[in-house]
């Protein structure tokens, strides 16, 4: 009775691992391709807000112009 269950889990897990491996390989092989691996689908669970995040200040400063555009291009969201 346990056998079919175990096999089912194994079958589900394998493609996921393959996908992760493929994403990692693509990311290493070509930096511009990283975008292809990023999933932009919205999470189903509510987002947990963590205010004590670790961020690099120079990156935040570098991004200011980009985020200004992001805000302008997405009225209603920002």
């Amino acid at each position: 009775m346990m056998q079919p269950n175990l096999r089912k889990e194994g079958r589900d897990a394998r493609p996921k691992r393959m996908e992760t491996l493929r994403c990692a390989l693509v990311a290493v092989a070509a930096l511009p391709s990283i975008a292809a691996c990023v999933q932009v689908t919205a999470p189903e669970r509510p987002i947990e807000i963590n205010l004590n995040i670790n961020i690099r200040q120079e990156v935040v400063v570098r991004l200011q112009e980009d985020v200004r555009e992001l805000i302008q291009q997405n009225p209603g969201v920002f």
Binding site: V38, A42, I47, N52, V60
Partner: protein
């Protein structure tokens, strides 16, 4: 085509244009701005909207909806700029604190305390804004 038919076509086109305009206005409406204006939702230093107190189910749902859309936008930009999602979100918070928190509206710095913007005094920025 007689006069009456022409009139009917004109009225039909008018109604269609009106409906289209309404639909457009609905898509373009400032959901985040409306939520901030309720006083129950504020901008956080992490780049997301937060609930100031115990908000209604409707406001909670709309806030969550906006945050999901924000996260999608942050994720996309982070990939393009070789930054983390949290960094893009935090950088956006700097701009939102400057531009979008209106007088009397709420904001939350990394200390976790909700504050109200006093009149047109500038909103203090989180340390990470530089």
């Amino acid at each position: 085509m007689n006069r009456r038919m022409k009139l009917m076509v004109a009225v039909g086109l008018g109604v269609a244009a009106l409906a289209g305009g309404t639909a457009y206005a609905y898509v373009m409406q400032d959901v985040a701005g409306e939520l901030r204006a309720t006083g129950q939702v504020g901008e956080q230093a992490d780049g997301y909207l937060g609930l100031v107190g115990s908000a209604s189910a409707d406001i909670r749902a709309r806030t969550n909806d906006v945050n999901i859309q924000r996260r999608a936008a942050y994720t996309q930009l982070a990939a393009q700029r070789n930054a983390t999602i949290e960094e893009v979100a935090a950088a956006t918070a700097c701009q939102l604190f400057r531009q979008r928190v209106g007088p009397g509206q709420h904001y939350r710095l990394p200390d976790g305390v909700w504050r109200r913007r006093n009149g047109s005094e500038p909103v203090p920025l989180p340390d990470h804004c530089g």
